[in-house]
């Protein structure tokens, strides 16, 4: 049990979700995960973190602001990720380098997954 257990379980309960992970964006390591049998969590974590980081940096460089949600659609699956990037407020630096990643079937309801992800990301420190 970790502080993220209920968050990940709520995500994994969504129809079509194969895996849900909390990943450190900076090094791609898993903090906690709920995986279906056969899922290579470490590989998914590393690649999803790298992708999210690249999207965040590119969007920032293009002055589009920080990325809140990302969705990648492929022939045999979908990856959704959401994070709460570090940013500055008058009270100091807030945010986290943690990213929540969901791997889902192509037919999964992305709208529901997105809502759950954005809700879950608020629980990140």
């Amino acid at each position: 049990m970790s502080v993220f257990t209920s968050t990940l379980e709520a995500l994994t309960r969504q129809r079509g979700v194969r895996a849900s992970l909390i990943v450190s964006e900076s090094d791609g390591l898993i903090i906690d995960a709920r995986l279906r049998y056969g899922q290579d969590g470490e590989r998914v974590a590393a690649l999803a973190a790298s992708l999210y980081r690249k999207a965040r940096l590119s969007a920032s460089a293009a002055r589009l602001g920080s990325v809140a949600f990302l969705q990648l659609d492929a022939e045999r699956g979908r990856i959704c990720a959401a994070g709460r990037p570090l940013h500055w407020t008058p009270d100091g630096a807030i945010g986290s380098d943690l990213v929540i990643v969901v791997v889902a079937d192509p037919a999964a309801n992305v709208g529901l997954i997105r809502m759950e992800l954005l809700k879950a990301v608020e629980t990140l420190a």
Binding site: S50, L51, A55, R63, S66, A68, E75, A93
Partner: protein
């Protein structure tokens, strides 16, 4: 950048009188965190009320916030403190032009040009001098002066820069590649680009919130994401990628691959539903495929 912001933030917290607020405010401005950037800059200005750079920073943040009155006030202070400040002259020239005060725009730009502001300002000045109607609009839409590029460090000295950059969004030529997606974009906030495998723009146009053409910059930056996606796809065994969509605090963006490594990028305001954005991406993808198939012409 995040590391820098954190470091500067810590430094400022440790020493509130530090001038590091200038770097922190500028970094936040460039990230689009304008409200926070303004707070940082104003707090710094309270402690350094005669600091030219602090007033200049507040002015540039104000321009990004479309608060032109505040920007004018700050740049006027800058010129009182440092009459030869090129950034303030360019900024005041820009705002004067936006507000239709061409005589003032000419006066400020002439001073900046005399001060060695570079070819871009000289060209802009020539355009303002011969401005009437369309020519003035062209200058405003060109990249020669942008509100985000008003600091001295961004003065261009490129002798090849042209003054003839017309506003592509106003082109009526149906074969103009920049109008490739024009009839598909139904909302002012929507924009679309077709990029080649190297991130160079093949067609379409990306306008920022100020109506500036930032296609090349956006294309170059976003192209890197597709490279990362391809790398991820090779390892994840979920087939070829069809699209990637991401939401930022400023916009929603979707991209899809085309033949020969080309990429279609569409963007819309943050308020646009993702489903609508995906439909727009599909339509732009079809248009791009047909355009590429026809050798770069409308089929």
């Amino acid at each position: 950048m995040v590391d820098d912001i954190r470091r500067w933030s810590d430094e400022l917290a440790h020493d509130p009188s530090s001038l590091v607020f200038l770097q922190l405010g500028e970094a936040l401005r460039r990230q689009g965190q304008l409200d926070v950037a303004l707070k940082i800059a104003l707090r710094g200005l309270e402690r350094h009320s005669h600091d030219v750079a602090a007033h200049d920073l507040v002015a540039r943040i104000a321009v990004d916030r479309r608060d032109f009155m505040r920007a004018v006030e700050e740049w006027e202070i800058v010129l009182r403190l440092q009459p030869e400040h090129l950034g303030a002259m360019k900024g005041l020239g820009y705002i004067s032009f936006r507000q239709g005060r061409l005589d003032d725009a000419e006066r400020f730009l002439a001073r900046a040009a005399d001060g060695g502001a570079g070819t871009a300002v000289t060209n802009a000045l020539e355009t303002v001098r011969r401005s009437s109607g369309g020519a003035a609009e062209s200058w405003l839409a060109s990249d020669e002066i942008q509100p985000n590029d008003l600091n001295d460090s961004n003065v261009s000295n490129d002798p090849n820069e042209s003054t003839d950059a017309s506003d592509p969004s106003h082109s009526d030529d149906p074969n103009d590649p920049q109008r490739l997606f024009a009839d598909l974009l139904v909302d002012d906030g929507q924009t679309a680009l077709l990029l080649d495998a190297n991130g160079f723009v093949l067609g379409g146009i990306y306008m920022d919130g100020d109506g500036m053409d930032v296609s090349q910059e956006i294309g170059a930056q976003l192209c890197g994401i597709s490279e990362e996606v391809v790398r991820a796809m090779r390892h994840l065994d979920i087939g070829d990628w069809g699209s990637i969509t991401f939401e930022t605090h400023a916009a929603v963006i979707a991209m899809a691959p085309q033949t020969d490594g080309a990429l279609v990028v569409v963007a819309a305001s943050r308020a646009t539903p993702l489903g609508l954005l995906r439909r727009l991406l599909d339509r732009c993808g079809e248009r791009a495929a047909s355009w590429i198939g026809a050798g770069g012409r409308e089929s």
